[in-house]
C-alpha cells in the first residue's frame, strides 16, 4: 500500500519536472522574440498615431508614468521629441464608459495642442455596431486628426446627438460618445499639464545622456 503511494508520488513528480522543464525551455527560447513582437505591436500603434518621421528620440525608453484619474488612473505617456524640441505626447487613455466595458485608446497630442492621431487598441464593443471606432473597420477615427480645443470649439466636442459635431453610428451612440469624451478630456489634460510632462521627459533624457 505504502509502496504504491510512493511509486505514484515519484511518477507524478517526474512528470511535473519533465512538464515544467519543457515549458521553461520553450519560454527561454521564445522570450526575446515575444518581447520584440510586443514592442513592435506597440510601436506600430504609436506610429499610427504619430508618424515615425516626426520625431527622433527613443519613444519607448523615454516613456513616463503619470497619475491622471481623468484619463483612467495611472497611465503611460510617450513623449516625442525632435532634438530637444517637444513634438507630441502620446497618451494611453482608458475611456471607462464604453457600451461593453472600457475602451483603451492611444491619443497623440502635438505640442501646439492638436490631435496628431487616435487609435483604439482594445475594446469589446458590439461587432458591426460599435466597432466602427476600430481603424480596421472604418476611418471614423481619422476624423480627429488635426483638431484642437479651438476647432471645433470645446462645447461642440460631442457627438451630434449631444449637440456636437461628431457623427455617431447607426444604432450606436454610446461607443462614439465615450471615445469623443475621452479625446476631449485628453486635450484638456494636455493643455494643463503638457509643459510639466515635456520638462520631466527632457530631464530624464539629459540625465540618461550623462549617465
Amino acid at each position: 500500500m505504502l509502496r504504491n503511494v510512493i511509486a505514484s508520488a515519484v511518477l507524478l513528480t517526474l512528470f511535473a519536472i519533465v512538464g515544467s522543464g519543457l515549458v521553461a525551455t520553450v519560454h527561454d527560447g521564445t522570450r526575446e522574440r515575444i518581447a520584440r513582437n510586443e514592442e513592435e505591436v506597440l510601436l506600430r500603434g504609436l506610429h499610427d498615431v504619430l508618424p515615425e518621421r516626426e520625431y527622433d528620440n527613443d519613444i519607448l525608453r523615454d516613456a513616463l508614468t503619470i497619475d491622471a484619474p481623468d484619463l483612467g488612473g495611472t497611465i503611460i505617456v510617450y513623449p516625442a521629441f525632435r532634438g530637444h524640441d517637444p513634438v507630441a505626447l502620446i497618451y494611453t487613455v482608458t475611456a471607462p464608459d464604453g457600451y461593453a466595458g472600457p475602451i483603451r485608446l492611444l491619443v497623440g497630442v502635438t505640442a501646439d495642442g492638436r490631435v496628431s492621431g487616435v487609435r483604439v487598441v482594445a475594446h469589446r464593443e458590439t461587432p458591426g455596431l460599435g466597432d466602427d471606432i476600430d481603424a480596421s473597420r472604418s476611418d471614423w477615427i481619422e476624423r480627429f486628426r488635426g483638431l484642437s480645443l479651438d476647432s471645433p470649439p470645446t462645447p461642440l466636442w460631442n457627438v451630434r446627438r449631444d449637440g456636437g459635431v461628431f457623427d455617431q453610428f447607426t444604432g450606436a451612440t454610446i461607443t462614439p460618445r465615450a471615445v469623443v469624451k475621452a479625446i476631449r478630456t485628453t486635450l484638456l489634460y494636455s493643455r494643463d499639464h503638457c509643459e510639466g510632462l515635456y520638462e520631466r521627459a527632457l530631464q530624464r533624457m539629459t540625465e540618461d545622456d550623462h549617465g
Binding site: G19, L22, H27, G128
Partner: protein, 229 residues
C-alpha cells in the same frame, strides 16, 4: 487487417464520431472563435498539434503510468504541451495570437483532448494513437473552418480575410471579397449565429448519414433479390 483498423479510426475521427458535430466537445472555443475562416483554421491547427503531442506522449507512457494517477499525469502533459504551443504562437504568429489569445490556453480544458488520451491513446500503440489524433484533430479543424467560412461569408461577405496573419504578407491576396458593397449580416457574426450555424451543420451531417443509410439498405435489398433470383 491492421490497415482496416486504422481506416476505421480515421473514419470515426473525421466523420462518425466527429468532435464538433457528434460528440459536441470543445464547444466554447468552437462557437466563440469561428467569426471567420482564418480564426477557425488557426485554432483548429493548434488543437490538432496539441492532440498529436498529447496522444503520442500518453501512448508512449501507457505501460508506465499507474492507473490511480493517470488523470493528473494526462493533465500535466496536456497543460505543458498547450503552454509550449501558446508561447511558440506568441513568438512566431504574434498577430494571430493577439486574436486567438485567450482561446489557446482554453485548449487545455477542451475535453476532447483528455477524452482521447483516456479513451484511446492510453490503450493503443503509438501509430494508432497518432492516426487517431490526426483524425480527431482534422475533423475538429474541418468543422471550425466550415463554420468560420459560413459565418464569414454570410456575416461580412468575405472569405479568408486576415489570411496574412497566419501565412505572412504574401497571403494578403488570398482574401476574397465575395460580394462587393455587402452590408453585412450581423446575426451571423454574433454568438447566436454560431449556434444557428453549428445547428445547420449538424442537421446537414444527419441528412447525409440518413441518405447513405437508405442507399445502403437499397443496395443490400438489391443484392438479396439478385441472389434469391
Amino acid at each position: 487487417m491492421a490497415d482496416n483498423g486504422l481506416r476505421k479510426v480515421l473514419a470515426d475521427g473525421l466523420w462518425h464520431n466527429n468532435t464538433g458535430l457528434v460528440q459536441l466537445l470543445g464547444l466554447c472555443p468552437l462557437l466563440a472563435i469561428t467569426t471567420n475562416t482564418i480564426n477557425g483554421l488557426g485554432l483548429g491547427l493548434a488543437t490538432l498539434l496539441t492532440l498529436l503531442a498529447s496522444n503520442a506522449c500518453v501512448s508512449l507512457i501507457r505501460n508506465l503510468v499507474r492507473p490511480e494517477v493517470r488523470i493528473p499525469v494526462y493533465v500535466l502533459i496536456i497543460a505543458s504541451v498547450v503552454t509550449a504551443i501558446e508561447l511558440s504562437m506568441n513568438a512566431w504568429f504574434h498577430d494571430l495570437y493577439l486574436i486567438l489569445g485567450i482561446f489557446i490556453p482554453l485548449i487545455v480544458t477542451n475535453c476532447a483532448i483528455i477524452g482521447r488520451a483516456e479513451a484511446f491513446a492510453s490503450k493503443n500503440s503509438l501509430p494508432r494513437a497518432l492516426v487517431d489524433a490526426l483524425a480527431i484533430g482534422l475533423g475538429f479543424t474541418a468543422v471550425l473552418v466550415t463554420l468560420g467560412a459560413l459565418r464569414e461569408l454570410i456575416g461580412s461577405g468575405t472569405l479568408f480575410a486576415q489570411a496574412h496573419l497566419m501565412f505572412g504578407e504574401a497571403a494578403r491576396g488570398l482574401a476574397i471579397v465575395v460580394w462587393e458593397d455587402y452590408r453585412g449580416f450581423l446575426l451571423a457574426i454574433l454568438p447566436p449565429g454560431a449556434f444557428i450555424g453549428l445547428g445547420l451543420l449538424i442537421a446537414g451531417k444527419n441528412v447525409i448519414d440518413t441518405r447513405m443509410k437508405q442507399a445502403a439498405t437499397v443496395r443490400a435489398k438489391a443484392a438479396q433479390a439478385a441472389s434469391t433470383a
